[in-house]
């Protein structure tokens, strides 16, 4: 697989030199230390009385802060920022309880602490969200066997401009120079992504490999191998794609829920490729007027001829 360098090329912000991350690390230490050393004094500053359980809570919160500080300053990773967000939620809960059961003495101080904690929470949340790398590296594979020699299938696939006839998400592929092409594709939720690709290996009848050039919306790389099936039974087409799926794990889950699962898309594309290669076009039915589409297999339009409006919609 020649996707080497796909991820290495991406600039990764070093949290070690990130002022916000380091600032939050030191803030954790500054807040945590007194809570462990002088829990009683801290309880008074917060406007709660100096009861043993308040001391204990203060010490536990202090220990938590010290762990977060060690993490953020020692081995900075987004997970420590998220740990701070979790800790903030815990603090807000404790302060909320304190306010609810307050006897009135020092209530202003408790209220002030609550507001301060809420502001810290917002800062932590901002840091966590912006410092988390919000994409997931994906690698997909799929394969099909088509009737034809490896050379014929390779020839067919190398005519890049016709890839959109079977790759549903591709809107346009334009050859821009020797070994270079420009790609435009529909991304989940109605967005368009574009990139320039360079062919990095082209062995006629055997293998095509490509990689997106710098500045791609979604850095990606892929290869197609054309392998003769045993006994002259056509050509096995093996596709591998690697790319960074935007939106991270959450994005992946949401996309999957709406049937935009990348593996399904690749599977659909290869089935349509087989149809176009063997039959000449994508097969359409009344239920599936756009042809094979995993996310719309059932329920779908009834198996009843489409009206003029429905045909227009399907063609769009």
């Amino acid at each position: 697989m020649t996707t080497d360098g796909l991820h290495g090329e991406r600039p990764t912000a070093s949290l070690r030199h990130d002022p916000l991350t380091r600032g939050l690390g030191w803030a954790s230490a500054a807040l945590g230390a007194p809570q462990i050393i002088r829990p009683g004094a801290v309880a008074r500053v917060l406007g709660v009385d100096d009861a043993p359980r308040h001391r204990l809570a203060s010490a536990v919160v202090g220990a938590r802060e010290m762990v977060a500080a060690a993490g953020l300053l020692g081995r900075p990773r987004p997970v420590w920022l998220w740990a701070r967000v979790g800790g903030d939620a815990m603090d807000l809960t404790l302060l909320g309880r304190a306010l609810k059961h307050h006897d009135g003495r020092g209530q202003r101080r408790t209220e002030f602490a609550t507001v301060a904690t809420a502001l810290i929470t917002l800062t932590d949340l901002y840091a966590a969200l912006t410092r988390t790398r919000r994409s997931t590296p994906m690698e997909l594979t799929s394969t099909t066997t088509v009737s034809g020699s490896p050379n014929e299938v390779y020839e067919f696939w190398s005519r890049l401009e016709q890839l959109p006839t079977f790759m549903a998400h591709l809107e346009e592929v334009r050859v821009t120079g020797a070994g270079r092409s420009h790609w435009r594709a529909a991304a989940p939720f109605g967005r368009d992504v574009e990139w320039d690709a360079e062919t990095i290996q082209d062995i006629p009848g055997q293998r095509l490999a490509w990689r997106s050039a710098d500045g791609a919306d979604i850095p990606n790389a892929g290869e197609v191998r054309f392998v003769p099936a045993p006994g002259g039974r056509g050509t096995e087409v093996h596709v591998r794609l690697a790319y960074d799926l935007p939106g991270g794990a959450l994005g992946k889950a949401v996309a999957k829920y709406f049937g935009e699962e990348p593996t399904q898309q690749l599977d659909d594309d290869l089935r349509r490729f087989k149809q176009v290669f063997e039959v000449g076009e994508v097969i359409r039915s009344d239920g599936a007027p756009k042809g094979k589409q995993a996310r719309e297999e059932f329920p779908q339009h009834p198996a009843r001829p489409l009206s003029a409006d429905e045909r227009k919609e399907a063609a769009a």
């Binding site: 009737s147 149809q275 009344d286 042809g291 009843r304 001829p305």
Partner: protein, 391 residues
Amino acid sequence: MKANCWISPNKVDVTDVPDPTILNSRDAIVKVTSTAICGSDLHLLDGYVPTMQKGDVMGHESMGEVVEVGSGVDGDKLRVGDRVVVPFPIGCGACSACRNGLWSCCENTNPNAGVAEKMFGHPVAGIYGYSHLTGGFAGGQAEYARVVLADVNALKIESDLTDEQVLFLSDILPTGYMGADMCNITDGDVVAVWGAGPVGQFAMDSARVLGAAKVIAIDDIAYRLEMAAGQSYETINYSDTDVRSTLLELTGGRGPDKCIDAVGLEATHGAAHVQLYDRAKQAIRAETDRPHALRQAIMSCRSGGIVSVIGVYGGFIDKFPAGSWMNRSLTLKTGQCHVQRYMRPLLERIEQGELDPTRVITHRLPLAQAPHGYDIFKHKQDHCEKVVLKP
């Protein structure tokens, strides 16, 4: 146009729907002159085949006149005005399955291959009017029908045979014939056929044409057995006779050499408690299919014999007699019919008078009366064997 549509389990209705149009360049549009109700349509009617939707046009046995062809249709093969029979499975003629004669397993014509693959492990071909599992293609119980990849699928009728003589080349004649063909019938073979419906009758005719020494029909509907007896086949009514012992008696204790299951997933059983057991399991979805005929065929077949299954199964069965099958060296063969493989040789047999498909027709109704046709066919009323609809 008018079309017979699936509404809900046990309900079909003739309603107005849009006229079909060319969706793929090798499509043709046919003005339907004759269409028929198939036994497997009853499985759809009864709600045993999943992925039916309200409004689906029924019907996979149709013929008619070509009124429009797409720009990609080979003019040497098909033109406007041609009279054609439409095979029920849609083949592409180009994939590995089609080129090996396995047209009903075509790898390209089912746009809903994903659903089929989940249910069956591998996808199956598109079929007209036969649920979304097989592609969501509108059926032919209508005034007009779209024929997909018409130049490789449609069978042109150039002789002056009547509609009724050739209509069943779309499904039930080749299906019955394939049931007998899979039996590799040799001299002296006794062939038992479970189910004396239209497909069973054609399996019997085909077994005789292919050289069976004796053909035995098994059913519980008296008029269907009489129809078989009219062709001089032996008959067993399982409602008042023990099938296995009668088969032994009719074969000198050997058992039939070849057995054909032309019943499928909605079999009934002579013994009320066995019938109830499977009916109950089916109702609670502990099994989807009632396999009485298949079980009995396996238990009855002589050792080393062939059990050929053309009755339709959709899902899973219970109490499969694997021990009998394995220990007695039985061969189990099956498949949705590869119509395109058989239709031309069978057309010749009809032309030569070796087979008379019209013998099973008991009812001719206008399309508007399709729901009534389903009703009498399902409930075996009015001696109904086969209903032909005239749009």
